[in-house]
Amino acid sequence: MLVDVLEHLVRGIVAHPDDVQVRTRPQRRGSLLEVRVHPEDLGRVIGRSGRTATALRTVVKALADGEPVRVDVVDVDRGR
């Protein structure tokens, strides 16, 4: 569910919604959600001073039922 939530939240705010990918990686505790977007949208998803990324994390955490969850915005330009 959190993957879908995050994917929806990100798709709604970018110029290239079809290029949004969210993957979940299990961690020792909780999970890590990796967000990939079109390079042109990277700035939008991060926001000034990381403000938008913080907002995304805040909402995802609120819906995580206390389960530890991390949200990373992956810069696809740099490797991978």
Partner: protein
């Protein structure tokens, strides 16, 4: 700066106060003060966080809740801020939020309105119970702020225009507003009584905005000082 100054004066009079009531904010006086660069120049609430507003590249706009509030900016040529346009903003935001509720399996009704020159979207409990929705508010409203920010960006992505839509969930803002109006009114009494400036607790942009409005109606002067999250309103006597 002088543009936001004008905005503030105009907006203040546009809320509840008649222009005569707003002794603290005649626009030319404020403009003059502002030009001198004294602290009172900042009493223009609009100058507060909206400075970076026009044309700023990303999501900094949430800050302009503080002062640059109800209504469009006169003279800035935002003719598109018509009712129709604001309704459209509300619809885009409501779609975005409705799908979120769907995915998260939360029940809620979404109301769209236009208030004080802004789109206003409210999520309320379906059966009169807001309990489930409080997760989307957070203990201090931080989730609500985050969702408002994202909703504004969603509107911007769709319309290409920055949005200042306001989001409320489970009546949180409405309740907070009532409480703050009370706090501000008492602080104003104190200032009138003692003739001393009164410094309030740090508040969010939305909260400071509520206080600025009360202070203007009371005929006193307010300014914001400090940086978020420690930014706070200081109320000064009218003669300051």
């Amino acid at each position: 700066m002088s543009e936001t100054t004008t905005t503030e004066a105009a907006e203040t009079s546009g809320t509840d106060a008649t222009p005569q009531d707003v002794r603290s904010a005649p626009s030319d006086e404020l403009a003059a003060v502002e030009a001198e660069g004294t602290r009172d120049g900042e009493s223009v609430a609009a100058a507060d966080d909206s400075v970076g507003d026009p044309g700023a590249p990303d999501g900094e706009s949430a800050g302009d809740d503080d002062g640059a509030d109800p209504g469009q900016k006169p003279g800035s040529g935002r003719g598109k801020t018509s009712i129709r346009r604001l309704e459209e903003e509300g619809e885009v935001a409501a779609d975005y939020l409705e799908e979120l509720l769907d995915i998260a399996d939360l029940d809620g009704d979404i109301d769209i309105d236009v208030e004080n020159g802004r789109a206003s979207v409210a999520i309320v409990g379906e059966d009169g119970s807001d309990r489930e929705l409080r997760r989307l508010v957070g203990s201090r409203g931080e989730v609500l702020e985050a969702l408002q920010e994202l909703s504004r960006l969603a509107v911007q992505a769709r319309t290409g225009e920055r949005s200042r839509m306001m989001l409320d969930i489970a009546g949180f803002r409405a309740a907070r507003r009532r409480k703050l109006e009370d706090v501000a009114a008492r602080a104003c009494q104190e200032v009138k009584h003692t003739g001393q400036a009164y410094r309030l607790e740090p508040m969010t942009a939305f909260e400071r905005k509520v206080v600025h409005d009360v202070v203007a109606v009371a005929g006193l002067i307010s300014e914001s000082e400090g940086e978020d999250p420690g930014r706070r309103v200081v109320i000064h006597p009218a003669s300051a």
